[in-house]
Amino acid sequence: MENLIALLIAAPLLGAAVLLCGGRRLDRVGHWLGTLLAAASFVIGVVLFGDMLGKSGEGRSLHQHLFSWIPVEGFQADVAFQLDQLSMTFVLLITGVGTLIHIYSIGYMEHDERRRRFFGYLNLFLAAMLLLVLADNYLLLYMGWEGVGLASYLLIGFWQHKPSAATAAKKAFLVNRVGDMGLSIAIMLMFTTFGTFAFGPVLSSTGDATEGKLTAIGLMLLLAACGKSAQVPLQSWLGDAMEGPTPVSALIHAATMVTAGVYLITRSGAIFNAAPDAQLVVVVVGAVTLLFGAIVGCAKDDIKKALAGSTMSQIGYMILAAGLGPIGYVFAIMHLVTHGFFKAGLFLGAGSVMHGMNDEVDMRKYGGLRKYMPVTFVTFGLGYLAIIGFPGLSGFFSKDKIIEAAFAKGGTEGWILGAVTLLGAAITAFYMTRVMLLTFFGEKRWQPDDNGHEPHPHESPKSMTIPMVILAFGSVFAGGFFSIGDRFLHWLEPVTGHSHGNPPVSATTVTTATVVVLVIGVAIAWFMYGRKPVPVAAPRGSLLTRAARRDLLQDDFNHVVLVRGGEHLTRSLVYVDHTLVDGVVNGTAASFGGLSGRLRKLQNGYARTYAVSMFGGTAVLIAATLLMRAV
């Protein structure tokens, strides 16, 4: 059975190779081939899942050693895969959502002449992401990590004729490089500390390493997670990444790739468990990003950017939960899965809206679309209810668990974290309600575009709505399915471990509080956007709103601190290089040259001059001898 694992990756990889190398003759069937191979991967995943369900306990973890990659004495890197419950969860999410989005893209990208290439990139992404979650060592994981980075870059910049898309792709790539650097440093540290980087040996021997080293490794891993999962301070690329096609935003920048950081931290749980300081930093990063993303999401009028802020915020939840340690790992992954469903659904819904609105993204120019796009409205609405945590839907269960876990952290920390997560839940309810109201309710506000084309909102084709419907099902039922009888907890516990912590307040209280803040958030949004007509032009807004529209000045901060600082640093380094280094080098050379020029005059070629120096030297020797005698 374990021999199937490689096939999981091989199928989309084959698709990518064929589609990218095949040329134009595949234009007709390219999208079908890509979708078929993604579906094949999903089917294999399901088969493996069924097999896994049939086993119990330790036997559930499968291992496949494909070949020895870098066999050097003392440095053994294998291409080997490990399929346990955690990986399985990801495999199903990636291939499942991935397949749905492939299907959706068939319709969405119908008029794009480079559709074959698009599917090739999507398949490449699937292969890399599967490699990431199936690798049994950090080096192979790193390969997958870079692979998804590459796919992300290619897909964000897919419409590279738009300068904004090209810039966004470059930005995403550069910011991700910072995180990748963290991961590579972490791997090097692991190798020096443990002598290996395979999951098994590293994670089982954390007791051998000092806490300082583990903290360093943990912080580097966190840096990597921040880069890939768009957490503060490496969050700036995600908003711009929405320049890519919407299916890409749904698959890569909402459901799967951006959750790689959560996977990394959960997978490396043993390291973080042994390094409380690193864990604390993880929690802080998660909490800050949670609020950061939520605030940004409140102010954006671009529907995709609002959803991107939401994504950032929701991943902040997951990172926070993962930072809580064994209390939170399971819930982080659970929220990850449910978020995968409803956020993918929301993005696909947004894509569907844009599809019907001539690619207009400004929500202030939507309004009243529920009558024109009923399916989109219903599926988007279900996703909306799920994300705000409406009782009974997916988001309710998973988010509620995270808030409980935050309180269960105990002490002042627990209270602060609980309050932050509750506040985040309220803001989530606010901005999602805002999105919902602006898009589907109120009167229609759309206007003819610059070319005089009046948009004709219409429902999207079947290939787009069917995936949305399926995802909506997931958004509704996944949370409940997972939570009833703690199914997900029991499923994942053997891998991640679990502890209940010591909650200072009962679960019922937390749930009640969650519902209360939810209602408050929705109410505020309704007061602001539901009661009265929404102006088409955005009002100036408060200072915070204006800052949030500019992503809370993240780019300005980066520009001032990093870009300009880097420029200054470079300039000063160049100055130092020119004056000090070159001065020393040239000065040394010049002084040697000058000295040689003077010494050369001593070498005049006349034997008698040399004789004088010999004679003088002898005299000096005699003088020295006599002097030594005298002393």
């Binding site: 005049n604 034997a607 008698r608």
Partner: protein, 99 residues
């Protein structure tokens, strides 16, 4: 008189010879000055031999003479061949090594 005076004389002759090496340009005269220095050394050896009461100093002086003879033969041959090729016996003219 003390035989030490011979040593004084020897060092005086040696110094004069050395100065000659430094200031003369004719290779033959330079060679003569070297011979003078060798002779001064021989005188010192002979004087030491007497002062110490054994003949080893004289033996050394004897060997010095032999070596000097060999050196003169080769040195003069070099001077002759140098003169043949450069038509000059000046040591300053043989300064091809300078820049």
């Amino acid at each position: 008189m003390n035989p030490v005076n011979y040593l004084y004389l020897a060092s005086l002759l040696f110094t004069i010879g050395a100065a000659g090496v430094l200031i003369r340009r004719n290779a033959i005269v330079v060679f003569m000055c070297i011979e003078l220095m060798l002779n001064a050394c021989n005188l010192a050896f002979v004087a030491f031999s007497r002062m110490h009461g054994n003949l080893d100093g004289q033996i050394i002086a004897f060997f010095t003479m032999v070596v000097a003879a060999a050196e003169v033969v080769v040195g003069l041959a070099i001077i002759v061949s140098l003169f043949r090729s450069r038509h000059s016996a000046s040591v300053d003219d043989a300064s091809l090594m300078k820049l």
